[in-house]
Amino acid sequence: MFGSFIKKSRAKSPWIMHFDCGSCNGCDIEVLACLTPLYDVERFGIINVGNPKHADVLLVTGTVNHRNKKVLKNIYDQMPEPKAVIAIGACGNTGGVFRDAYNVVGGVDKVIPVDVYVPGCPAKPEAIIDGVVAGLAKFAEKVEDAG
């Protein structure tokens, strides 16, 4: 019984962490907009934490480049399982308008596994909230598969 309560709680209390991999700040500002009274993501139990060790969901904005890919990997490794990664914006998904630049590796999935892609330039707050919800469903599945 307690086990099923834990499983249910996962979807009800996603603590997100937001990492900016060199975005233009457009997507970041939208992520932060989700926390304002207008969108109020705290309704869903979402808290924006600043510490990978407390986080369940990693939101990544911006293109990954050769300098910050190690940081991204490091942050991902510090998050305890179960965890989900959500790539936000055109840059996070593929590299966006910067994908041809010489220092750019590309999307977030070049470095760490991504569960959900949220499109847009910048991504809308509604789309980001949708993405987090979809991410939670994904990681519920993952936990189910792992037993």
């Binding site: 307690f2 086990g3 309560f5 834990i6 499983k7 249910k8 709680s9 996962r10 009800k12 209390s13 603590w15 937001h18 009274p37 109020d40 705290e42 309704r43 869903f44 139990g45 808290i47 924006n48 934490v49 600043g50 510490n51 060790k53 407390h54 369940d56 510090q78 305890p80 399982e81 179960p82």
Partner: protein
């Protein structure tokens, strides 16, 4: 036999009440900011989720420290419910508080270190106030036992109003609310990234959280003793105090530890001493 039942009630019911209070707190805070806020059960979801996460520790000390913090908090609540000795309650909860700091010190991370130093400052600020409040209890009832309080026919608050205000300071510090929330910033993305709690993760963070619920109930229980003669007034007093706490939390910015020491030692201890002299002379 009765004592045993009380102890069990204390250990089982206190965290449930503490969790509900935490949930209500977030609802009311959201209401202040004209948001809707999370469900009232949110604190339980958070802890259940944390319990189900991978166990990641920086070193073995943290496991021990998280457990000792939880056990000390639970034992102090149990002693409180068993009508035990106030001094014993005080020392047991102090042991817990120190172990939380030790766990944070065990990790090398600067956030955790700074948080631990600040937490020590907080302990330094509220412990003397708590002791003075207990001295007040002693002067009124002639004993440190909680049982003696229930035998009074006049509420304690009539005799020690200033000590109650001083206890309010201790409550704010103990609940880690603004303006005294500098060892664990409320919001994780602030300068401290959760301070003392930075290096606790997963199930161990959950233990610390449950211990915090116990402590909330313990300090609110101390406040309740101030109106021990009438249950209705006791409830009014508690609800009023906690609402005031939330209001202060939402209207204040975080201050520095120097400001806190000055405020709490000068005002808090000053008020306590004045009240004690009044009790002693009167």
């Amino acid at each position: 036999m009765n004592t045993l039942i009380l102890v069990i009630i204390g250990i089982v019911v206190a965290p449930l009440v503490g969790g509900l209070i935490a949930g209500l707190d977030r609802r009311i805070t959201a209401w202040f900011q004209s948001r809707q806020g999370p469900p009232i059960m949110q604190a339980f979801y958070d802890v259940a989720k944390l319990l189900g996460k991978e166990k990641m520790v920086v070193n073995q000390w943290q496991i021990l420290c998280a457990w000792v913090y939880l056990i000390a908090a639970a034992v102090s609540v149990a002693l409180f419910f068993a009508q035990g000795d106030l001094l014993l309650v005080f020392f047991v909860q102090a042991v817990g508080a120190v172990f939380l700091v030790m766990g944070a010190m065990a990790a090398k991370s600067p956030y955790s270190q700074v948080g631990a130093q600040r937490e020590l400052m907080q302990i330094l600020a509220y412990e003397p106030v708590l002791i003075l409040v207990f001295v007040g209890f002693f002067l009124v009832t002639g004993s440190f036992s909680i049982e003696a309080v229930w035998q009074l026919d006049q509420p304690l608050i009539a005799k020690m109003p200033l000590l109650y205000l001083a206890l309010g300071y201790a409550l704010t510090i103990k609940l880690r609310k603004s303006p005294f929330d500098f060892s664990t910033s409320h919001h994780g993305h602030q300068e401290l990234v959760k301070g003392v709690l930075t290096e606790y993760s997963g199930p161990y963070l959950a233990l610390v959280e449950i211990a915090h619920w116990y402590e909330t109930v313990l300090v609110l229980g101390l406040c309740a003793l101030f109106w021990s003669t009438n249950v209705a007034w006791m409830a009014v007093l508690l609800i009023g105090t906690y609402l005031l706490e939330i209001l202060v939390d939402n209207t204040m910015a975080r201050m520095t530890w120097r400001w806190m020491l000055k405020r709490v030692w000068l005002l808090g201890m000053g008020m306590s001493v004045v009240n004690l002299i009044w009790l002693y002379a009167g």
